[in-house]
Symmetry: C2
Subunit: 448 residues, 2 copies
Amino acid sequence: MAKTDILIIGGGPAGVVAAVTARKNNPSKKIALVRETEKAVIPCGIPYIFNRLDSAEKNIMPDNGLEANKIDILIDKAVKIDKTAKTVDLKSGKNISYDKLILAVGSKPITIPIDGIDKKGVWRVEKDLEYLKKLRQEVLKSKNIVILGGGFIGVEIAEELININGLNISLVEKLDNCLITTLDKEFAVEAEEKLKQKGVKLYTNCSVNQITGKNRVEYVKLDNGKTIPADIVILAIGARPNIDLTKEPGIKLGDYNGIRVDEYMRTNVPDIFAIGDCAETRDFFTGKHIPIMLASTATTKARIVAANLYQLNDLRETKGTLSSFSTCIDGLVLGGTGITENRAKKEGFDILLGTSQCPNHHPGTLPNTGSIKVKLIFSKTSKALLGAQISGPESISEMINILALAIQNELTVYDFQTMQFSTHPLLTTAPTVYPLITAAQSALAKLD
Amino acid sequence: MAKTDILIIGGGPAGVVAAVTARKNNPSKKIALVRETEKAVIPCGIPYIFNRLDSAEKNIMPDNGLEANKIDILIDKAVKIDKTAKTVDLKSGKNISYDKLILAVGSKPITIPIDGIDKKGVWRVEKDLEYLKKLRQEVLKSKNIVILGGGFIGVEIAEELININGLNISLVEKLDNCLITTLDKEFAVEAEEKLKQKGVKLYTNCSVNQITGKNRVEYVKLDNGKTIPADIVILAIGARPNIDLTKEPGIKLGDYNGIRVDEYMRTNVPDIFAIGDCAETRDFFTGKHIPIMLASTATTKARIVAANLYQLNDLRETKGTLSSFSTCIDGLVLGGTGITENRAKKEGFDILLGTSQCPNHHPGTLPNTGSIKVKLIFSKTSKALLGAQISGPESISEMINILALAIQNELTVYDFQTMQFSTHPLLTTAPTVYPLITAAQSALAKLD
């Protein structure tokens, strides 16, 4: 039997960061990582394998970080955990003992129980290189593509595919708007406008009733009676935690069937931890468990577990996730962190809104000047920042991280008044109208 | 005699922000702003009037913010303050009384006492539209341009002019490297490499002995014996506070001859305040006064004064400036905040350094992928972040502001381990190697 000190199951972002960070904290331990495939796919890069990358093989997570940190990589599938013997059985027939076991087994794409869902030509977004290589080939041979689900992945795949000559792209979303679970309507609409301008056919507020076709998919039938021709259907309707290994060792599950973990990513079974998409994610504001699966959140969990495997070293509160994100649609960047206005109202927060909009260069007469739009959501009582959304150019992707840090540090609307920042004509808004400050000022003005 | 409640002298970024913010806090007061010119130039935009903007007139600060906030604009020059009568005499012969007076009169370009400095063809960087229009015309008719001073303005003008066909650009810097008072050497060298690649001739560690020519400038003679042909010489060697109005009312000056102000921008004379470049700037870490003149810093001072004119409303500490900045050289963005390694050593801080470098997209195989380089400077004892420098793409301009907020909130190297952030394949580094975290980890590793 092979022996290791720290065993990580799963080679996605959470697994890799847990391994590398565990090495920094435990220079002399044996650390092994088990993953099912020879090469690990970069999850967030999947939408871009069709056009911006000219092959799926270019969307591979390099192993150099693991190798430099002397992590043993085992290409195998974990099939059973023996919590008493502290061993894991592998599909190859081998087994391996552990001192600390970290489950980073990720998630599986959700499917929907409709007629025709198993037809040839219906694909999911699997984090599997061989599967994605075939999907890419099929997409490039096709004409009509229907994407089901207008979350990040669906929207990003639609935006990628519409840039390929000759493809007709339809996007079907059950809710009133694309991205509406993560953005408020005024921002979601900006994304939709961009998609429509590019030629994506949007079917919002629509469900799929049936997928039809003789030998393979030919049409998608919507609940509004509309029929869309389809050579390929891509399901991008979300994922659920992978809990295959939890039953035998009696690892408890929580809300949304993620693996229940405490502040330090410990499961109920001693010496077994869970991180990334397979583990529950706690919301920053309510402490509720929420079905958020972001690579950045996964890596944060990984850094926490790696610091606390043998003793609790990391006693600062981690509180929960802000679900910070950014996405890019034909040059329009949308970012969000913390709570949306929609969700604040559903949760019952009494809120104070601040907004602003200004040119993203100064003077605004500079070439390629666009616009930045900011929305800040404060607690009306404590004045603490609860959430933010921004749209604009590339730099929005880091501007939203300023606000994530502000929320983590419990900054209030007053703190924005003397916030220090840098500006530059070619890169940012003018210092006179720096939009995080002017948005906060517009919130303050409502208090008078 | 005209009467106003709040009188602001100066129409630059500090004056404008003070006026607009004072309006928000004082809806019913009369507010007037006096400036010398019909149109106000955007200071940071000056380097870009030569090429990116196709006229100097496009680099104008619009008056719509002032007008929307019912600020009276007087085009006139303040010549004398009577602190007892609380009036200001104007060049036109008019005068105006005030209740609160804010000096936002900016700075004046420094010149150097060398032979030939007054020759025709030697220009300064004046914030004056008519002067800049003439400078632009002259530059576009010339062949050989010599810029004296390798700070931000000098470097940015060199980068702008080298893009104009047929111009030879030389840049002379007294110190060992361009930008070396604000960046550590490894970042300053990146800037220099870009300038050299574009064709700018760099003369570092060089002083100018003499400017020669018959009727107008023809040559610049350096202390190393070298002679550079010059049709135009542009002085970009810094600025000093404008203190023209201070003598008669007995307004006290401080270090570097800026107007001495307290935490709330109050001078020693009751009801007279000073902000922007004409006022002293205090350093965040040492409390020392430092000769930093940045538009972002100027607007921060303006927001503070506007909140505290009639009573002290803004009792949070403002502590001092972080001197945050970003600049852009042929697509390379450099940003900094807080203290440099150089300055930390001079001031006597015991420091802990963290560095990292990684691709700015993920996967790194995406088109147009560059690199991000981060340096974090912590206090070895308290572990607090003292400073940061970053180089990379456009988004660096806001990434540096994350670190400015971290310093303002006294974050330590430990806080970075569980910092939350968003990432996106097309926009940012991978979440597995987010460079603010990995740089902090590299600092922590040195502690073991």
